[in-house]
Symmetry: C2
Subunit: 517 residues, 2 copies
Amino acid sequence: MQRVEKWGLFEVSSKGKRDGNPFRDYAMTVTFKGEKEEISVNGFYDGDGVYRARFMPSYEGVYTYKIEGNFADSIEDAEGSFEVVAASGKNHGPVVVVDKTHLGYADHTPYYSIGTTCYAWANQPMERQEQTLKTLKDNAFNKIRFCFFPKFYEFNRKEPLTYPFERGNGEGLDPERVEQEKSCRMRFPGMQETEQDYGFDYTRPNVEHFRRYDMRIAQLMELGIEADMILMHPYDKWGLNEMDKDACDWYLRYVVARYGAYRNVWWSLSNEFDFIRIKTLEDWERYGQVVSSNDPFHRLLSVHNGGPNYDFSKDWVTHCSLQRVDFYRTTEDTDQFVEKYGKPVVWDEICYEGNIGLGWGNITGEELVRRFWEAFMRGGHCGHGETFMDPEDILWWSHGGILKGESPARLQFLLDILRDVPGGYLTKGEGIFDEVVGYAGGHVGEGWGICYDYAIHYLGVCQPVYRQLILPEDADYEVDVIDTWNMTVTPMGVKRGICKIELPGNQYMALRVRKVG
Amino acid sequence: MQRVEKWGLFEVSSKGKRDGNPFRDYAMTVTFKGEKEEISVNGFYDGDGVYRARFMPSYEGVYTYKIEGNFADSIEDAEGSFEVVAASGKNHGPVVVVDKTHLGYADHTPYYSIGTTCYAWANQPMERQEQTLKTLKDNAFNKIRFCFFPKFYEFNRKEPLTYPFERGNGEGLDPERVEQEKSCRMRFPGMQETEQDYGFDYTRPNVEHFRRYDMRIAQLMELGIEADMILMHPYDKWGLNEMDKDACDWYLRYVVARYGAYRNVWWSLSNEFDFIRIKTLEDWERYGQVVSSNDPFHRLLSVHNGGPNYDFSKDWVTHCSLQRVDFYRTTEDTDQFVEKYGKPVVWDEICYEGNIGLGWGNITGEELVRRFWEAFMRGGHCGHGETFMDPEDILWWSHGGILKGESPARLQFLLDILRDVPGGYLTKGEGIFDEVVGYAGGHVGEGWGICYDYAIHYLGVCQPVYRQLILPEDADYEVDVIDTWNMTVTPMGVKRGICKIELPGNQYMALRVRKVG
């Protein structure tokens, strides 16, 4: 009997019809049944006369499956069974919403999302893709954000390794959108004169493209990295945003059927959805429903903004996926979003460490790391990106490759600190003198006298040479000084009452205060 | 005939009654008359049987005056005349509101307010006061903010050089406020147990205290420095905020009569008005009316906030006097305030350069200077302060003395750049890639293609190695790279069209773009 791990990927395939447009003309449904769950999934055509269906079991034990549909006149091996065994290694299950506003793995391991962004990494030359995977393996990132469609933008003018659709005569295009597009597609200075390329058949996926994403998602899964898949985006010159309603909805269903069973997949309907000017809020709402209603595994699902954020209160939105509020304000607003939406808050773009000429791509490592600390102290999550100039125009943010910045090591340090939080989760507490406090567990007192059983007081850009703590007189607290940039933890001993903690007078310090016993 | 400069201070004095409480019981009014103005001012008792009245002439030529009132049974030398001659040296007249939202001297010289704060400098030992004046002389500051009442606060626990009122038995106190005070006076950890000192007579000014302020204001005037006088504040242990209505209103009228004729005086009703918890908005409104209606010279008048700002739309408020919006946001909101209130915007507290343990007093010089640039690029003004730990607890922010920080030299550099702006005033323009733009004069184009006749593009925390400019193809522009921290201006030559300007990859850079001819 075949064996698969709990939360692993189990796939069945079957030969079927090739005539007409087999992607669209025939259906396959497979029902998987174990002792504790029964789930029907849509199959998908994968070219060469092969139909497949994918399933993620959530329980151990013996499962059976049954294949149905009109994709074949007579289905060979239409039934079967397999055994689901215990998860092992980095397999903690999918990331799910915990206690409304936190994220955790299905096995109850807390999850702090230390993301990164490589929009077009899976469309670069294969060697670079391998290099990207190696870099990811050597760093702290446990989520990566990337596009499924090719990207056209500054530093991104080469054609992709593969296209998501077969070459054709524009079938599946919306003529009205093509017309509108001429006036509203996102353009940058120096990129105005780009010719559109509508030479695809938007009703026929290019399976070579899709198969490579199968492989990359599986590799990320092995590395314990969440694959935050961006299903649409504004950086387009191929007509992908001019698909008609039917073609676009169908594309989403195909993607969900194909990738939804990978436990590490998250759905991001779009990057900077509002910059795709020809799509309406009605479109986005429908896309959300299409993905949500076709995904039997209920993967995390959100929409990322360029300007004003999406309405995250919608039922099908599982978490806030955010870009900075404005040029100055990013993760400092984390707790406001937690409170407003009552959902996990994930900052997916907070400006990148780098030195390019675009305003969102040239902050220092210090500033990027500061924004991460703000996010986590306030009960949220955060994503990194890197945009250093390169002689060959290979920028991590889009192409992957290697990292040059100073922030990644500090993000590993941050993750280590977070993993040590008792109970797993930090909530924003009350600061005494403008610091931001993340706490876990109980507290005594109020106002200036508030003290938590466990708290990290993050001082951000301040550079004090001491800090006063107001602790209860009747209990002991271990105090550590954390240098978040130089990555040191210095124990300051056990304290009680009003006490003064000496500090080195550098920026980016934190005090960790833990009740003894 | 006596001579005085236009906008100089002309004083008359006369002997009068000493019985009862001569500060309160008798009145003196002096009418000054020139060819173009006639102004009556209130006199004030200055102790030792002497009554004085002060006047600032706004025109050249011969003036006469006439002294009246019941302060003497028969007034000696009740009439006289003097000649007003042209202003000279640093005398550009008082700072007034220009074009609704800007500030300028009465002689039409533009005024960019580079402020500093030394709350209690005029109450320190005399040697330190002299040292403070010397430091001011050697730096760029053209406004200083300081308190008239003594200050009790962290680092400020010594008794002042003098008290503003005579010792007494609490006359002029409001018994209800004294009672309320016990629960709501501003307290800090470790300062809770301070005994109040109500042993003053709040109806009798201590003229020694007031005379020293006469001298200091006059010395600041000679240095070309505006004296932003804070008339009340929350850092009190002497009962000054528990004065009754009559005593407090009378105190304000006395101050206005005494100091209002100095051309460099600004009135700040309070520092952190909202932290004086026993005073109501009705009180502040009345104070504003009292000062405004008793000040024949219409000095600049505002109220400075701790938390939410004052309602600057009130008729008697001449400008916005602001503390940072929150811990992260300060001068980035300047243009929003300009737009909201249509009045000049002056940031009087944006956190201080220093390293003390309090959140508002430990930012870097870089961050302080960045906040200044933000303020001025957006059409506002800004104030400095310094709080470095000192073995003798002498911190510039409160005590004056010497400066230790890195920001003052950069503020001089900023002022030099501002003084070079054609037409005198910057307005917030449109940035291309998240930079903040201050411009003067006309513009062509819009959106990404907008270009001003004169503009400074300030890049703040960004560290790009190049920046694209989109200039018209049919005109020439001189481009300079300004390093606001290292204080250099590097000409990049004459440019037109889309061009790329190389930058060193440091933070705190600006591009200056000036149309040729």
